[in-house]
């Protein structure tokens, strides 16, 4: 896997959020999902900058839909994970699993 197949940590988090939200994945929701699950602050600007990179890598697809009154009539952009995106996520998980297999850190405390 070359550099193009590499997923940065935040890219991975955004991609997972898009996957989890399924058909409901758009900017604010993705941001809320990251905050709710990962407990990590993410600005809307950072989320869109990352999504732009993921689109460029062909890991997500995007499509616009008209917005309602709550969005001042402005369009909404939905994202879905592509096959390439799914395999990048799986690769990332496998890599982690392989690296962790059989490893016990001396300083780590066992969590109950």
């Amino acid at each position: 896997m070359g550099r193009s197949g590499y997923l940065g940590e935040f890219e991975q988090i955004v991609l997972l959020a898009v996957a989890r939200l399924g058909e409901d994945a758009y900017g604010m929701r993705i941001r809320a999902e990251i905050e709710g699950r990962a407990g990590r602050k993410a600005t809307i600007g950072a989320v869109y900058a990352t999504l732009e990179r993921l689109v460029a890598k062909d890991y997500v697809r995007q499509g616009d839909a008209p917005g309602g009154e709550e969005r001042s009539g402005l369009a909404r952009r939905f994202f879905t994970v592509t096959r390439a995106g799914e395999s990048a996520l799986e690769n990332a998980r496998d890599l982690q699993t392989r690296m962790w297999a059989g490893l016990k850190l001396r300083g780590a405390r066992r969590r109950s």
């Binding site: 604010m28 809320a32 600007g45 950072a46 869109y48 900058a49 969005r71 001042s72 909404r76």
Partner: protein, 870 residues
């Protein structure tokens, strides 16, 4: 529920056009959702916008493909520098030097002239001074201080201080320490809270109260190892017990008196309490926050007016003035610092101009490349961006190197500045790189290089114009002219700096030639203070002590003579008095320095006796009171008449009895070398003994005799430490008059050599390039019969024309700037023709040297090869 407009507008401007609606829609949606839930919505919108700004910009660049392009431009610019290491090194060195020198000098100026003083209300602390045309110092009498402190409404606190020193004994060998005596209110003026213990109470300042002392932080660390238990301990100062009641904080400094180690309560003597004409106090006051400086000045004017009409002789022409604490402290160094700052800015300009010259030269060489790019479709902005990035690849490392150089320079200055000089300046104990100065100089470096880098585009060279091939004989003319202007500017700056260095240099030479009235070489000096013990309380006790000390010191091998005086020559104008001539009604308007000397003083110093006799050993306390005056006093007070036999009543010495003038001596300088001589009255030490005095010793080997002299004095009394030991020559060299000028001169010489080198390289560059660009023309001239000498003359004209133009502009600038350096000049006019002629010679020599090589090359060009030149 309408989202806040401003952040919404900001976000929509920052986001890329195609994402604008989507992002703002998301923000609007969450805003309304939060508002419905009763959570803070507007604040969130603001926060989210501010936090998203960098990412939104990044997104915009990603969309425009700019990140990739800028990266490519950077790599190209670095490759370009790598291929021309000579250009890169020259530009980097020039920039580093310019930015570094400016930042360093500006940092030092900022610390001394701008940084807030280390006191709670430093900007409202002022010196309160009396000015009187009949007196020399601006000090106040105790009675005046008392009246002002208790009655002025414009000031929240008024405090007085007076210099002093004490001998500390009981902690190792006896040692003389710098002390300051203050009224308890001075700490209120300065707003200082002690690190340990307490400050002085009003009871501490009353005569007869137990002795108390407050230690400076340095003294506490050095002498008590920073032990908190030191507070409460008793130390012996000049033979009397004092209890340590407090320790001042480490951050506290008192530059007006060079950070004394001991702080003692000021207890006025009987004479100070009762006599209005003893002016010995420095007074500081804290202006109330609600009172303007003008209102305070008005209150002082009204008070002085009342004094003048009170009938007191010593208030007949007194005015009261305030002077900012910092203004007073930096008055001596401000002109030098401003001059150096101006010079540093000129060096910075010279560096920027020199880099412009280099960049222009490169731009000329790359004209074809730029035209080719334009022809291939690169837009104007695309080329501007690339040139801008190329300029920044020089400017950023140049500025970074400059900052490194600046911090080294500041550290060097910090490590090498003389102690007596720096101790009297605010913050001189910790010179650091000033962020403000660094930011200013880095920004101006960047701007200068960017402007220089973009000149080809700014001058309207439109990309897309058809690029030329061949015809190089004429293509470079415009660039050569522009570079000529750049070189002229470099030479002009170098001339201004050189002129400054020459004028200050002549001042230093003139100062070194000033004859202070005695031979400075071979004079060793030191100070002694008799302890407050019963043995030295009486006049006889003091005279005997001085006699015994001098007798022992004279016996030391290598000391040819030793005498005592209350204040050393070249040490300042303190201890003055006005006087009345018996038989003449009114007081003279002459204020004379009172100097108590032992009989052999004038002979030991080599001061000639012009009339009458010198002070003799027979002029004892019980003999007739006599004085010797100097020629200046004789001239001012007696005109052409001989003053011998005239009798003076000296106010300073109690007003009575009269003192008979028995001799007239040559003038001796007691102030700094750059001041005019003052009238002096020499009083026999035996007739007016004082407990603190200086020794002057003539010796061929000053260093070798210090230890035996100390031993000889300790033999007389172990509680008599000799302090402040140095040769008079060393104290002259470290005096502000000489030290500051020497420092300024050295720096100006360095600055101007650098500027001149940059200018010389510029002249060389212009001519070398012109010779290359005009090779075909030279070939044609040679073919038509011109000789090598004709061609050399042509080349010299091309090279020397900008140098001459720069020289003329430089002299005009120097003439305009010179009067601002007037305070630093001594014995030389701001428009000193000899100095300016010397500068002209040096500049002409450098310009000729720079022209020599290219002109020689032009003269030796073979005609055929020149004609073929492409």
């Amino acid at each position: 529920m309408i989202p806040p407009r401003l952040p919404r507008w900001v976000m929509s401007r920052l986001s890329p056009r195609e994402d604008r609606d989507i992002i703002v829609g998301d923000l609007d949606e969450e805003f309304r959702q939060r508002a419905r839930q009763g959570r803070s919505a507007s604040a969130w919108y603001w926060q989210e916008t501010l936090a998203s700004m960098p990412a939104a910009l990044r997104l915009r660049w990603q969309r425009a493909g700019l990140t990739r392009d800028i990266g490519g431009d950077c790599r190209r610019a670095i490759r370009l520098l790598w291929r021309r290491p000579g250009f890169a090194a020259a530009a980097l060195v020039a920039l580093a030097f310019g930015a570094g020198i400016t930042t360093a000098v500006a940092s030092i100026c900022e610390a001394i002239l701008v940084r807030p003083l280390p006191y709670a209300n430093g900007d409202r602390i002022v010196y309160l001074r009396e000015h009187d045309p009949t007196r020399q110092g601006p000090n106040l009498s105790w009675a005046d201080f008392d009246e002002l402190a208790s009655s002025l409404r414009s000031f929240a606190a008024v405090g007085a201080f007076s210099d002093g020193s004490r001998t500390l004994s009981g902690l190792g060998p006896s040692e003389r320490l710098r002390a300051i005596e203050i009224t308890p209110s001075l700490f209120a003026v300065l707003g200082v809270v002690p690190a340990l213990g307490r400050t002085f109470s009003d009871a501490d300042g009353v005569g007869g109260a137990p002795g108390v002392v407050i230690l400076s932080h340095t003294a506490w660390r050095r002498r008590f190892g920073g032990d908190p238990a030191a507070v409460g301990r008793t130390v012996v100062l000049s033979g009397a017990p004092f209890t340590i009641v407090g320790v001042l904080p480490a951050s506290f400094a008192f530059a007006p008196r060079a950070n004394p180690e001991l702080w003692l309560p000021l207890r006025p003597s009987q004479a100070q309490l009762t006599r209005g004409d003893v002016h010995s106090l420095d007074v500081l006051a804290l202006r109330r926050a609600e009172v303007t400086a003008a209102a305070a000045a008005e209150e002082l004017r009204v008070r002085a007016d009342r004094w003048q009409h009170s009938g007191a002789a010593w208030h007949a022409s007194t005015t009261l003035q305030t002077l900012g604490l910092r203004d007073e402290m930096v008055a001596g160094v401000r002109p030098s610092l401003m001059l150096l700052l101006g010079a540093a800015v000129l060096v910075m300009l010279a560096a920027a101009v020199s880099v412009s010259g280099l960049v222009l030269a490169r731009a000329a060489a790359r004209a074809r490349e730029m035209q080719l790019r334009a022809a291939l479709g690169a837009g104007r902005w695309r080329i501007i961006r690339q040139l801008g990035i190329e300029a920044l690849t020089i400017a950023v490392p140049g500025a970074a190197l400059g900052l490194i150089l600046a911090s080294c320079t500041v550290a060097f200055f910090d490590a090498t500045t003389r102690i007596p000089f720096r101790d009297t300046l605010p913050f001189a104990d910790r010179f650091t790189l000033s962020p403000l100065a660094a930011a200013a100089s880095v920004t101006s470096t960047m701007i200068a290089v960017l402007v220089a880098g973009l000149i080809p585009v700014l001058r309207g060279r439109r990309p897309g114009t058809p690029f030329t091939t061949g015809a190089r004989a004429t293509a470079g003319h415009a660039e050569t002219r522009l570079r000529g202007v750049v070189v002229a500017a470099q030479i002009a700056l170098a001339v201004v700096l050189l002129a400054g260095a020459a004028l200050v240099g002549r001042s230093v030479v003139n100062l070194s030639r000033v004859y202070p009235g005695f031979a400075i070489d071979g004079l060793l000096t030191g100070r002694l203070s008799l302890p407050d013990t019963p043995r030295y309380q009486s006049r006889e006790g003091m005279v005997q002590a001085v006699d015994r000390v001098l007798e022992r010191v004279r016996a030391v091998r290598g000391v040819s003579s030793a005498e005592a005086i209350n204040r050393l020559p070249l040490g300042g104008r303190s201890y003055t008095s006005d006087f009345r001539i018996v038989g003449r009604g009114e007081q003279t308007k002459v204020d004379a320095l009172i100097r108590n000397v032992t009989p052999g003083y004038l002979a030991a110093m080599g001061i000639p006796l012009l009339a009458g006799r010198a002070i003799e050993p027979t002029d004892t306390g019980s003999a007739e009171r006599v004085v010797v005056v100097n020629a200046m006093l004789a001239r001012l007070a007696f005109g052409g008449r001989s003053p011998i036999g005239e009798r003076l009543v000296l106010e300073f010495l109690g007003g009575k009895p009269a003192w008979t003038i028995v001799g007239v001596a040559g003038d001796e300088q007691f102030d700094t070398l750059d001041k005019p001589m003052a009238p002096v009255v020499y009083v026999p030490f035996a007739q007016n003994p004082v407990p603190a005095f200086s020794l002057v010793m003539r010796t061929a080997a000053p260093e070798a005799v210090v230890t035996p002299v100390r031993a000889a004095i300790t033999d007389v009394d172990p509680a008599l430490p000799l302090y402040g030991v140095q040769t008079l020559a060393a104290s002259v060299a470290s005096s502000n008059a000489v030290f500051l000028r020497t420092l300024v001169m050295r720096l100006l010489v360095w600055f101007s050599v650098a500027a001149l080198l940059l200018g010389g390289v510029g002249v060389y560059g212009v001519l070398a390039e012109a010779v290359t660009a005009r090779t075909r023309e030279i070939g044609i001239r040679l073919a038509l019969g011109a000789t090598g000498a004709d061609v050399a003359r042509l080349a010299l004209r091309i090279g020397l024309a900008p140098a001459a133009l720069g020289g003329v502009c430089g002299f005009i600038l120097a003439a305009i700037a010179a009067p601002s350096a007037r305070t630093l000049l001594f014995g030389v006019a701001p428009l000193d023709l000899r100095s300016l002629a010397a500068v002209a010679l040096v500049v002409a020599a450098v310009a000729l040297a720079a022209c020599a090589l290219p002109a020689r090359r032009a003269a030796r060009l073979p005609a055929v090869a020149a004609l073929r030149h492409e």
